[in-house]
Amino acid sequence: MQVNEYKPLIVAFCCNWCSYAGADLAGNNRLNYPAEVKIIRVPCSCRVNPMFVLRAFQRGADGVIICGCHPGDCHYTSGNYYTRRRMAALFSMLDYLGIEKERTRVEWVSAAEGAKFAATMNDFVEKVTALGENKRLEDLRCKK
């Protein structure tokens, strides 16, 4: 029996049109990925405010992944391009603050890529697990 095995906390933002549907497809195909991944549905990956990512880390998340439609396939034409640029800037700032680059990721998952979704999540969780708990941005006042 495994006791006290470290389980990271992962927040995944998925756009409604591609990645959330991709996650559904992973489910339809019964493709396993760790339960540590919790998905929040957003209309478009560009709806993800850097504030949300910071909040997640502040509240103790160990990794944040943002999934959107592939470039050129955005339901709203250009939203994922904004995501790509915003998050590149945010992640490099987080890296500077000590949130390792492996803890943050933007991934393009289409509605047909259930397998990719599961594989991405497995890989991401594995990487974050290897890094261990995130203590950098955690707000101790939030700890119960």
């Binding site: 996650a23 339960a35 929040i40 549905r41 478009c44 709806r47 504030m51 509240r59 034409t77 250009s78």
Partner: protein
């Protein structure tokens, strides 16, 4: 505080097999706001839905959380249930504990644990939900088609056929566009005029269609269903409703040396002219840059010979305002200028021509009455070299040319080559190609026929230099298969010039707030699934304004655009998606950031009066979202530096609450 009801679905064993539904409904009972929590075998069944309705009444619920399958599956179902129970449908949140929980996890303990967290997140969100009502706007049942080529003609005919009035705005004196200039059409070789002119007549005779020829769109305001458009009708100095198109004025006009644009300047027209015999409307137009009467008040011959009294030298530009429910862009294409490609000596020899000029040279109504004669000396050419991909498929960094394939050139070049060999078997025809691209019905067969039956010499390679010398064109080219440099003495060189969107497209896109790519082609709302719609609601795309297209493709896209327009005009009212952005005017600083990122042009800035604390009023510039146009992507909400912009249904606080619930 909301009064939330939680309904955990078993989905048979789909959920209940991996998630302890009882434990979930029990655990969620103590969440803030939850006043009722239960579980049931099939929540989506009639019995399950009735259970929800009853609970709403019994416990006075103001919010509902269903822990079930994906919201993409049954969100709509449960919203209807809520509405039936008298609740606002947007007070429902779904926790996806099937696709994203029970189906992907095997262990009961982890499944249950995760389902509880997902449930908590949904409860945290629904606590912040507010009732939303979709906006409604009326639809003006009239469509505007901009551009009167085959794309615009077909779209207008199809819309009119469904019973809606359509206006066509065409900047030239006649509709017909590029197709009217063509000789034959591939791959069937039927004559362009024979199939186009009956359609032009149909347009003219259709009671539902109005043609604004020699006109341009000068202003567009409003949004889907409610566009206010100003059309500028240029003065043609001929009363359209009086002119009979008899042509007496044209015959008598003494200004005979005006380059004829319809024949691409290869012959001349008069200062008063009708572009071609089958023009629609068949009305004369005076070219103010050429007419002596208009320039210096001397002449007036046309007015004297016009028995109908249609000539009016004092006519002024006229502005017409009209309302439309939908706008179709059909502005078409033009061959690019050959100025930057003078290694082919287009500007140095009259006998180097573009393919469109070749069309006119072989057209029975063209400057040579259909005889293939060299523009320089009127002699029959015996050796013709066709050069493909002139200006197409160029590197983005190159200073000339276009990056894309112009798509139609391979086929029309094969057509030109074949027709030349058919009519003049004594003519040697060379085609220099990089690739021959013929992906269309009967296209490759057509090209093979040109090679195999008509003996057209296709050479894999490119022409490097054309040197006019005496009356020959010395063509230096490569033959990559033979690994040779060829030197051909040609009589005529025909360049398959790349095509580009019409220059009027860019300012039009600005007026429409429709997006364009870097090549000035209009962007479609979705490259695969919404190919004839612009991302801007109510704006549709027809023909080559969206990308290079041949006639069959243009016509099918025109029909598709028409059907989308009909679908829109058939509605009396448009119901919007209530999950749209809105701006907090007190926080907005008027920076325009949101306006710039909005792909739909849904955001405008208005000057609004605000009461200041000292009881004065102040005018401030603030963002205003048009809910009928906004599609709810949320790009603006993140861009807004002051946090004034938020999105209904996916508000900052709601998402933050979800994050908190998950991270607890």
């Amino acid at each position: 505080m909301q009064r939330v009801g939680v309904f955990v679905c078993w989905c048979g064993s789909n959920i209940a097999g991996t998630v302890d539904v009882e434990a979930v409904s029990e655990a969620l009972k103590s969440e803030p706001g939850v006043v009722f929590s239960t579980n049931y075998q099939y929540m989506c069944s009639q019995a399950g839905q009735d259970m929800i309705k009853d609970a709403v009444k019994e416990h006075n619920l103001t919010g509902i959380v269903v822990c079930s399958c994906s919201p993409r599956m049954h969100e709509a179902t449960f919203r209807k249930t809520a509405a039936a129970a008298g609740l606002n449908p947007y007070m429902v949140e779904i926790a996806n504990i099937r696709e994203q929980c029970s189906w992907v996890h095997k262990d009961m303990l982890t499944g249950t644990e995760k389902a509880i967290i997902l449930g908590k997140a949904a409860i945290a969100k629904v606590n912040l939900n507010a009732p939303l009502t979709p906006g409604e706007s009326p639809v003006t049942k009239r469509a505007l088609v901009i551009g009167g080529g085959i794309a615009g003609i077909q779209t207008a005919l199809d819309i009119a056929d469904a019973g809606f009035p359509v206006d066509i705005v065409e900047k030239k004196p006649t509709i017909g566009g590029k197709m009217a200039q063509l000789d034959k059409t591939f791959p069937t070789l039927d004559c362009a005029a024979c199939i186009l002119t009956p359609k032009m007549v149909d347009v003219a005779q259709n009671e539902k269609i109005r043609i604004f020829s020699y006109s341009e769109v000068s202003e567009i305001k409003g949004f889907v269903g409610n566009f206010d458009v100003t059309i500028k009708k240029n003065a043609r100095f001929v009363k359209e409703d009086v002119c009979t198109g008899c042509g007496a004025c044209v015959e008598k006009c003494p200004m005979k040396k005006v380059p004829n644009e319809f024949n691409l300047g290869m012959d001349n027209r008069r200062a008063i002219y009708i572009p071609f015999a089958q023009a629609v409307p068949k009305v004369a137009t005076i070219d103010p840059n050429a007419c002596n009467m208009l320039k210096n008040g001397k002449c007036g011959l046309c007015a004297r010979v016009c028995t109908a009294g249609a000539i009016d030298y004092t006519q002024k530009d006229e502005y017409i305002e009209e309302k439309y429910g939908a706008i179709v862009v059909a502005t078409g294409f033009n061959p690019i200028s050959m100025d930057k490609f003078d290694e082919f000596a287009y500007n140095q020899s009259k006998d180097v021509i573009t393919s469109l000029e070749f069309e006119r040279l072989t057209n029975a109504a063209g400057p040579t009455a259909g005889k293939l004669l060299r523009p320089s000396d009127g002699k029959h050419p015996h050796t013709i070299v066709f050069v493909q991909c002139v200006g197409s498929r160029c590197d983005a960094c190159a200073e000339k040319g276009k990056e894309y394939c112009s798509k139609i050139c391979c086929m029309y070049t094969a057509k030109h080559a074949m027709l030349t060999r058919d009519k003049y078997p004594d003519t040697e025809v060379y085609v220099f190609y990089i690739d021959v691209r013929t992906p269309g019905k009967n296209f490759d067969e057509f090209y093979r026929r040109a090679v195999e039956e008509y003996g057209v010499k296709y050479i894999k390679g490119m022409v490097g230099k054309v040197t006019p010398e005496g009356d020959v064109l010395k063509v230096q080219a490569s033959d990559l298969i033979a690994n040779k440099q060829l030197h051909i003495d040609a009589d005529l060189v025909v360049l398959a010039a790349a095509i580009e969107p019409d220059k009027s497209a860019r300012p039009l896109a600005t007026m429409l707030t429709a997006s364009m790519d870097t090549n000035d082609f209009f962007t479609e709302a979705h490259p695969k699934l919404r190919p004839v719609e612009s991302p801007t609601a109510g704006v549709f795309l027809s023909g080559a304004c969206q990308g290079p297209k041949d006639i069959p493709e243009t016509v099918s896209q025109a029909g598709a655009a028409a059907s989308k327009v009909i679908g829109l005009l058939a509605k009396d009212k448009l119901t919007g998606n209530p999950c749209v952005a809105h701006s907090n005017e007190l926080m907005c600083n008027g920076c325009s950031s949101c306006e710039r990122v909005c792909p739909y042009g849904a955001i405008t800035y208005i000057d609004k009066e605000f009461r200041m604390p000292d009881r004065t009023t102040k005018i401030r510039r603030v963002a205003s979202v048009n809910p009928a146009v906004c599609q709810g992507c949320g790009a603006c909400t993140v861009t807004c530096p002051s946090g004034a912009m938020d999105l209904n249904g996916f508000a900052n606080l709601q998402i933050m609450a979800e994050v908190d619930a998950i991270c607890k």
